[in-house]
């Protein structure tokens, strides 16, 4: 299972991106995207923004769950009060459906299972907390790129902890 996480600003501008792999079930935390997929990921993620903009007015929830799917890529969304979008693209190692039902409850095998939804929610919530801390800096203006290595480390830690 590989993940690509990005924070998108109000002008559809990327503020932060991070790529990682699963740390559950013996995963080493490294992403397994091919070089080509890396470029494609950015496209897939940004193309889901249209759906986010529709979905954001139907529910006041911050976490919108899996909102888009492109072949074997699942995109989950979390939207902050300030209209900043957190998008997480997940790519299961083996396409969903080809795995046996026995391990379909694991987070890695089925991105739409309740367990996976809960894990992603926890991940987003932790990132949100750190994001709010980042914007509390008086030198940070909304829609600025987040460059802090501490923030990056915090996101990485959240990824290891939940996904």
């Amino acid at each position: 299972m590989s993940y690509y996480f990005a924070i998108i600003g109000t002008q559809d501008n990327p503020l932060f991106e991070y790529e990682f792999g699963t740390s559950k079930q013996g995963g080493d935390g490294q992403s397994r995207f091919s070089e080509q997929a890396r470029h494609l990921n950015q496209f897939i993620l940004h193309s889901s923004l249209d759906i986010v903009e529709e979905a954001q007015w139907t529910s006041g929830q911050l976490y919108l769950k899996v909102i888009d799917k492109f072949f074997n890529n699942y995109i989950s969304c979390f939207i902050t009060a300030g209209n900043i979008k957190f998008l997480l693209l997940q790519q299961p190692t083996t396409p969903v459906g080809s795995t046996s039902t026995r391990n379909s409850t694991s987070i890695g095998a089925n991105p739409t299972s309740p367990q996976a939804e809960e894990a992603i929610k926890n991940f987003f919530t932790e990132v949100y907390e750190n994001y709010v801390k980042a914007i509390m800096s008086p030198f940070y203006k909304v829609n600025m790129e987040i460059k802090s290595p501490v923030f990056r480390a915090r996101v990485a830690a959240a990824g290891r902890k939940y996904l």
Binding site: T10, P14, F16, E17, Y18, E19, F20, G21, G29, Q30, S31, R38, Q56, W57, G60, Q61, L62, I79, T80, A81, G82, N83, Y128, E129, N130, Y131, V132, K133, A134, I135, M136, S137, K141, V142, E145, S148, P149, V150, F151, R152, A153, R154, A156
Partner: protein, 218 residues
């Protein structure tokens, strides 16, 4: 982005060049929740605010210009306050405001409580059918104006334009673009209960009402 290639590597490597405070605590180590007792002194705020007003007053041509500057000083605060106050809500009621009314309630209750320790006094919708996009938040005694005496020749000025800027920031951040202005409405005659009564006029842009109508149909 520049650090694309570095994704997945241990983050410690990239930390070179960053200077940590001596106690190794960064902004990320601090809690977002504020305890009830940690309020700021009103005297020091009044002092700071008077400096902000006189700073804004430099090189301005008129009162409108001055109010605009005060508004600009408040705007980024509103943008950030929105997220901060939402995360302080209990997880169950953490929802983004979707309608004008829920947004204005959020401002009247949460924002006011956070900034001034009490709720705003009233919330009104413009009764004029020509301006359905106008809403009013009424504060009988704005805290920012407590120690400000406006000279006669500048009687149009209301320094609560700063608070109007904060409100505008909250509205803009929540994707309800609006223009917010502060107006003094308290009477000048003797015996007036609230001489400093201020109305914050919130004028939403057309697209907000359009969307509101669509959501309502829904």
């Amino acid at each position: 982005m520049a650090n694309m290639g570095a994704a997945g590597k241990p983050p410690g490597k990239e930390a070179a060049g960053l200077r940590y405070p001596t106690n190794m605590k960064t902004i990320y180590n601090r809690s977002l929740n504020r305890s009830k007792t940690s309020e700021l002194s009103q005297a020091s705020f009044a002092y700071l605010f008077s400096e902000m007003v006189s700073y804004a007053q430099k090189r301005v041509t008129g009162i409108q210009d001055l109010e605009k500057r005060l508004n600009h000083q408040g705007h980024p605060i509103g943008l950030k306050l929105l997220d901060l106050l939402l995360i302080r809500e209990p997880p169950r009621s953490q929802t983004r405001p979707l309608t004008i009314i829920s947004l204005l309630h959020f401002i009247k209750i949460n924002v006011w409580q956070h900034l001034f320790g009490r709720q705003a006094d009233r919330l009104e919708k413009s009764s004029n059918p020509d301006t359905p996009d106008e809403y009013m938040i009424v504060d009988n005694e704005p805290l920012v104006n407590a120690y400000i005496s406006v000279p006669k020749e500048m009687s149009q000025l209301n320094c609560a334009a700063y608070v109007a800027g904060i409100i505008e920031g909250v509205c803009d951040g929540a994707a309800f673009p609006a223009r917010v202005t502060a107006h003094t409405v308290g009477g000048k005659e003797e015996g007036e209960m609230w001489p400093g009564k201020t109305v914050f006029l919130v004028k939403f842009q057309g697209e907000v009402l359009e969307r509101e109508a669509l959501i309502g149909k829904g």
